[in-house]
Symmetry: C2
Subunit: 226 residues, 2 copies
């Protein structure tokens, strides 16, 4: 065999209603009719895989506001789908929590920890996307990709807590991100809630492209001169 099909698949993640959710599309036809699958499609002749996944998401599910896209891994088991062999390049895509993309009738958002019956190996892809996101929130500035353009620390804490799957302290979150130079105040303050309380300062991320903030924990290069 030297010619085979190649598709791109995207696990598009967004924090919605205090949980990390993924966009899935319900299959109308066999195989696996009724099962839910990741958006994507065949790689085009003149595009690389990243361009392809961005195009497919824009065309098929009208998701254009991707704040971050990164390749996860190739899934290549010979029997991963019935019929002619198809390889898949899987992607992680992120959408800021203030966006609500128009999606077709046969697509829905599902919490990543409560997936419906999924098609083929798509369940594994979603879990891999989730784990990649969780890791990178720790050692990169990737929070910008889940957050709106500006936010209070409380709002940001909700987003991090949903993405990470555990409670997050607003105090420590602010300190960690500030020390790393990821946050800057906009100067504005949010309005207090109905129950009163001190109005929150509004922040934004200083950079909206991903970079590594915590390069290596151990075995650093020596600092000694000579």
């Amino acid at each position: 065999m030297d010619r085979l099909g190649h598709e791109v698949l995207a696990a598009v993640l967004q924090v919605r209603s205090w949980s990390l959710q993924v966009l899935l599309w319900q299959r109308a036809k066999e195989p696996q009719a009724g099962h839910w699958s990741l958006p994507g499609g065949q790689l085009g002749a003149t595009e690389d895989v990243e361009a392809s996944v961005r195009r497919q998401l824009a065309e098929k599910v009208d998701v254009r506001q991707l704040s971050h896209v990164e390749q996860l891994q190739v899934f290549s088991a010979p029997n991963r789908m019935p019929g002619a062999r198809v390889l898949a390049t899987a992607f992680l895509g992120l959408v800021p929590s203030d966006n609500d993309p128009e999606i077709p009738a046969d697509t829905r958002w599902f919490p990543v920890d409560a997936l419906p019956a999924t098609a083929f190996d798509h369940h594994a892809i979603v879990l891999r996307a989730r784990d990649r996101l969780r890791s990178k929130l720790s050692y990169t500035n990737l929070g910008f990709a889940l957050a709106p353009p500006s936010f209070t620390i409380s709002e940001l804490r909700e987003i991090y807590a949903a993405a990470l799957g555990h409670r997050v302290s607003a105090t420590n979150l602010q300190r960690v991100l500030s020390r790393r130079g990821q946050l800057e105040p906009t100067g504005q303050t949010a309005v207090s809630g109905p129950a009163g309380g001190r109005p929150a300062a509004v922040f934004r991320f200083t950079c909206r492209d991903m970079f590594i903030t915590d390069p290596f924990a151990v075995l650093r290069p020596p600092t000694t001169r000579r």
Copy 2:
């Protein structure tokens, strides 16, 4: 387009002569005759990409002692090679420093920081493999894949220094790896050198499968009960 070629390519890295080196193969035919390229080949019909890369390395360059193999990324630029389009799944492969595989006449080891003229996008693949290795030495037990079955701390320091590209303190290396439970003494001691000196204790890695030793640096789950 819905049928296309797919190859697997491996950046096989090994610490040789105090430097991190990669195995390259010199192209005899056009395109890019004379340039050096990564070992690999077409994906077979009944194998996944990892099985394929292991098979190709065993067949073509007689490398069978791979201590670790992991997928890096798909390279898919439409013009990455002339002629019919071919996607490539790139891998990182590691060989322990005490092995010296039999390699064909047209293959050679090169330091990753002094590569010859390379074919296509293979230079980028080597750099990516190098960076992946360097990162993982910090937060996983991946050192086992570069080290012989047993070694002194000094020998291990040489290996880490070559792989990381900077000096490494034997003191701190031992402490970090011991604290993480990666090392255990074999009970043996090495013989002293010609100039005397205290004989070194011999160690081995407790586990020879990769796992993460330093899961997340920040934003850990809260430890508070209830």
